[in-house]
Structures are given as C-alpha cells and as structure tokens.
C-alpha cells in the first residue's frame, strides 16, 4: 500500500484527477444536446492529456535500480488512465439524452493512450501530453472530407464502423503502450 501511495504521488496522480474529471464533465456540460463524436473526442482527448502529464517519476535512474520489473507496472498505469478516462466518459454521457457509441470511445481511448506512451518514450514523461493533445487539435481542426489524409487526421471522430480508424488506433496503441511498457519514459 505504501509503495502504491508513493508511486501515485511521484506520478502526480492526485493532482491529475481533478483536471481529468473537469475536462470530461465540462465538455459534456457545454456540448449539451450537441454531444457528438466531435465533442466526445474533445472531452476524451483532454482527459488523456491531463492524465498523461505524469508518465515518469522524479528520477528515472533511481527508478531503474528497483528490484522488480517495471513492465507490468508501467502498462498497468497506462491502462488505468484509459479505464478511468473511458469510464468517466461513459458514465457522464449516460446522464444525457444523446450518447456516443461505446465502441468509438474505446477505440479513441486506446489510440490516445498509444499516443501518450509514444510521446513519453520519445520526449520524456513530462511531455506525455503533447502527442495526444496535438492529434486531438489536428483531428478537430481538420475539415470533414472523404480524402484519406483527412480521414487519417480525423480518425478520432470517425464512425465506429470505420476500418481505417481502428487500424490507426490499434497500431498507435501497440506501438505506444508497448514501447512505454518496455522502455519507459525517455530520460
């Protein structure tokens, strides 16, 4: 129990919870009856962004001297972010009249987690938020058009039966989550 508390504190878990909850609830609140994949992407994107801002501890070298394997712990941390973000999302939207497909939320969460892991591996733990936020911005700003490039950019808000978006989310998740679990954040 003591280890878990220390781990959570070093990963800024306590401070991250409030912005995570706020971003989902506020987005849902503002969207009201316009609760579409667009709004859902924004809320989920922001939730992952905040949760992913603590993907490394104070001292990576010290971490690595630990007498246990980091692989399952890092993976669990990342997956927990996803479970919480998607869970809050699914719970909050139940209160409204319109719901976004659960499959879409699961897919987006997986892809965003991958991006967070990727950013942590490439730039460092404190930059885990950069790629999820970047792609959310890109996805929301790109006009809706059937061209492949537009679809790649906007995969976060494509319908849940779109094969391309699932492939992208899957590849990002495997690369990002796998990379982060194995290698950890960049020094």
């Amino acid at each position: 129990m003591r280890w878990l508390t220390l781990y959570a504190r070093s990963r800024h878990v306590p401070v991250v919870v409030a912005p995570l909850l706020l971003s989902v609830v506020l987005t849902w609140w503002f969207a009201e009856d316009k609760w579409t994949p667009f709004a859902a992407t924004l809320g989920l994107g922001l939730a992952v962004v905040f949760a992913a801002s603590g993907l490394s501890g104070q001292d990576i070298d010290l971490d690595r001297t630990a007498g246990f394997s980091w692989f399952p712990r890092r993976l669990a941390h990342l997956l927990l972010i996803g479970v919480v973000a998607a869970g809050v999302m699914l719970a909050v939207q139940e209160a409204g009249d319109v719901q976004v497909e659960s499959a879409l939320i699961v897919r987006d969460t997986a892809g965003l987690l991958g991006l967070a892991g990727l950013a942590a591996v490439l730039f460092g733990g404190q930059f885990g938020w950069t790629l999820p936020l970047g792609w959310t911005m890109l996805g929301l700003g790109t006009p809706d058009e059937p061209e492949t490039l537009n679809r790649v950019f906007t995969w976060l808000r494509l319908p849940a039966d779109d094969a391309l978006s699932w492939w992208l989310a899957g590849v990002l998740f495997v690369l990002g989550a796998g990379g982060y679990a194995m290698a950890g954040a960049r020094r």
Binding site: H12, Q126, L133, M137, G141, L149
Partner: protein, 450 residues
C-alpha cells in the same frame, strides 16, 4: 550565451513544429489550392491572412512550449542556487526569453517567407497594407511566448503546461467560433471580447483589411500582455504585483479604441480593389493578371446581353466576400463576377458562366437543395442558353444543372416556341426577378404558368 541557451532549450524545435503544423492546417483548409477564393501564395493579403489564421493552432503550441521553458529552473530545483549567484535574475530571464522569442519569430517568418516567395514566383500583387497583418501576427506570437514563460515561472507544476495549452486553445477556438456566428442578430459574445483573441477567421475576402481601431487595440493589448509576461519572469517575487500594470493598461487602451461592433474590424482595401479595365471589362488591381483571360469572354457576354432592353454595360470583378450564406450584391448596370466562381472554369466556358442567369448573382444560396433552388437553377440555365443563342438546350455543366436536368427541356421548348418579342420580354422579366430577388424566375420565363 544565446547560443548555449538555444541549444539547451526546446527553442530549436519550435520553428520546426510551427512550420509542420501550419503546413498541415493550410493543406487541410485547401488554402494553397485554387479552390479557395483567397488563396495562400498568390497575393500578399491572402498569404498574410492565412498565416495569421494558422495561429489558431500555432498560438496554443507556442504558449505551451514557452510554459515548459518558463518552469525549467524551478523544476530542476536550481532556483535557490541561482538566486545566490551575483548574476541578476533579469539577465538570465532576458536571454531565455530572447532564445524562445527568436525561435518563434523565425518559425512564423519561415511561413510568411515561403508564402511571399510563392507570391513573387506567381507574379502576384504585394500591397503595403498587408504589412499591418504581418505586424499583428508577430506581436501575437511574441505575446504567446511572454505569457507562457510568465505563467510557467509563476506556477511550476507538471499540469501547468498542458492546462495552459488547452486554455489557450479554448480561447482561440472560442474566439473564432464567436466571430463566425452567422445568426442574423449577430453573435451573443460581445465584439470587444473576441477582439482580444489572436485567432482570426479564415479569410473570405482579399479586399478587406484590419481597421485602424482594431489594429491599434490589438497592439496595445498584446504588447501589454508581452510586457507583463516578461516582467513576471524577470522581477523578484515581491515586485510581481507591479507586473500586472502593463497588461491592465494595455487592456484599458484596447477597450477604448476597439470598433463598436464586429463589422468595424475590417475596412476595404482601396489599393487592392482599385479597378483595372480593358474596355468594358474591369478587374481589381489584385487580380490584374486575370484581365487578359476575362476580357474576351467579358466582351462577348456584354454583346450577348444587348438583346435585352435593360442590359449591363460593364463586366466588373466583384470584391464581395466569398460567403455562400449571404445574398450577393446586385446592380442592373454591371455584371459582377467573383474571381472564385471562375477558377475551375475552362476559358472556352467563361462566356457561358458570365451569362448564367443573364449576368446576375443567385438569389437562393447554394448548398440548400430545395425545390426553389432547383427552379432558380433551371431558369438561370435557360436564360444563359437563350442569350448564348444556342439552337438546342446547352449541356449541363455545373453540379446544380446536372441535378436539375430533368426540369429544363420543357421550359426551353416552351420559350423557343414563342414569338421573338415575347421571348425577349420573358427573359428580361426573369432577369428582373433575379435582380430584385422577388418572385419566381422560372414562372417569369414560362409566363407565370409555373
């Protein structure tokens, strides 16, 4: 000193990020392509305005990156160490802000230069007035740097940078959405509030410039913000309250000079919209290179319109904004042609396009897909074919005509079965309907029979 700082901060990555993101935005909005009425890289006003539009995403990135830099010392835990050295805080802060500011300016400059070199290659027009928007763009990015550095210094926390980026993004997007609110009563957000935003709408007209009041107001507000950000970074914690003064002063000045409503934010650009003529065919100075293309078809269209008793004497480029939801300006004496409506039309079809609706703009906005829109399309199409003197119904060229094709042949046959005087009277009546937007042009063509 500066070189060391550039190497040990993320400053060198910033221009790369700026250029990559901006290019993605421009491509996504088709700004560099000919489909846009105000393209990027064909003339200086359009290029500068598109570059400023890209700030909607660039500005949050800049603010976030600066915040990461601003909290470097406290995150590394060297604040106490540095405060014990004789070198003043202001000196360190100055070099840091110089490095980040320089990187951002270089990134924005790279974008502008890429666009303006293309303008030069295409032989497009440069207007001195577009410099105003260049200056506004630079002031905006510098304010972003100062804001990020200052907040990063004040609140060194891992969540600060993402939160600040998100807030900056919310501010730019909300500012843009509020200014684009197309409801007739105007936006519910007061214009002074959106005037504070660095985000500008995608340009709809190359003939509009930021007005003096808007420009001066933005300069005051953004330079106040810059000064406050830098002061927070430089002064001792105890003097930080004083740092608020510049931003308050800038904000007050801005609120005093901002135009009363949003319409006052833009003024017509007289240099760019001055007319260059070849006989009865005139284009703006901005599109001077278009004149040889338009001159021949324009004269042919004027010639064909002579058949009608009240006919336009001139063909003129319309300087109106490219807004599909608004009814275009109409003038019985002039045939107004927007540059954007002809960009994809082959020269051989240009006369026909000018004669569409007997040289009038549409009354019913397109993208509406109602029976009225279809009836208007057919009426305009028949007028066009009749004026061109075709013996048979002309083939459908635009997507609207293809959509309405089944309605056209009976109207065509009925009109051509009439005596010539009656034909002229009916086409003239339909043209009148299109000029006033009162009545049904198809009913006018078929003699009210519907």
């Amino acid at each position: 000193m500066l070189r060391v700082e550039l190497r040990r901060t993320i400053a060198l990555w910033l221009p790369v990020a700026i250029v990559v993101v901006a290019v993605a935005i421009l491509l996504m909005y088709r700004a560099p392509r000919m489909t846009s009425a105000v393209p990027w890289g064909l003339d200086s006003p359009g290029t500068v305005e598109w570059t400023r539009f890209s700030l909607i995403f660039l500005w949050p990135i800049i603010v976030g990156a600066a915040a990461i830099q601003g909290m470097r010392e406290s995150r590394a835990g060297v604040g106490e160490l540095f405060s014990s050295t004789p070198r003043p805080t202001a000196h360190r802060a100055l070099i840091l802000s110089l490095a980040v500011g320089l990187a951002v300016v270089v990134g924005y400059l790279l974008l502008l230069v890429t666009g303006l070199v293309q303008v030069a290659v295409h032989g497009g027009m440069f207007t001195a007035a577009s410099l105003v928007s260049v200056v506004l763009g630079f002031v905006a990015v510098l304010a972003g740097v100062a804001l990020g550095l200052g907040v990063g210094r004040l609140l060194p926390h891992p969540v600060t940078a993402p939160a600040l980026t998100v807030l900056a993004l919310v501010a730019t997007v909300a500012g843009l959405v509020a200014t684009q609110d197309a409801s007739p009563q105007g936006s519910s957000v007061p214009s002074w509030l959106t005037d504070l935003s660095v985000a500008v709408s995608p340009p709809e007209s190359a003939f509009l410039l930021p007005s003096a009041g808007f420009t001066i107001g933005q300069l005051c507000w953004l330079s106040g913000l810059t000064a406050t950000g830098l002061l927070v970074l430089m002064v001792r914690p105890r003097a930080r309250l004083l740092a608020v003064l510049p931003v308050v002063a800038g904000l007050t000045a801005a609120l005093l000079v901002f135009p009363a409503d949003r319409a006052g934010n833009l003024t017509p650009d007289k240099t760019a919209s001055a007319l260059v003529c070849d006989g009865p065919v005139c284009v703006t100075k901005l599109r001077e290179k278009w004149l040889p293309t338009l001159a021949g078809p324009g004269k042919e269209a004027i010639q064909a319109l002579q058949k009608l008793p009240q006919h336009p004497e001139r063909v003129e480029e319309s300087t109106e904004s490219n807004n599909y939801y608004l009814r275009g300006q109409r003038d019985p004496a002039r045939l107004l042609v927007p540059y954007s409506s002809t960009t994809y039309v082959p020269v051989s079809d240009l006369t026909a396009v000018l004669l569409d609706g007997a040289g009038t703009p549409r009354c019913i906005p397109s993208h509406y897909d109602s029976p009225e829109e279809k009836r208007e399309t057919v009426a305009r199409w028949v007028m066009q074919g009749w004026l061109a003197g075709s013996a048979t119904p002309p083939p459908a060229k635009s997507y609207q005509q293809r959509d309405a094709a089944e309605l056209m042949p009976p109207v065509w046959t009925a009109l051509h079965a009439l005596p010539e005087q009656e034909q002229i009277a009916r086409v003239a009546a339909a043209r009148q309907v299109e000029l006033t937007c009162q009545g049904d042009p198809l009913a006018a063509l078929t003699g009210g029979a519907g």
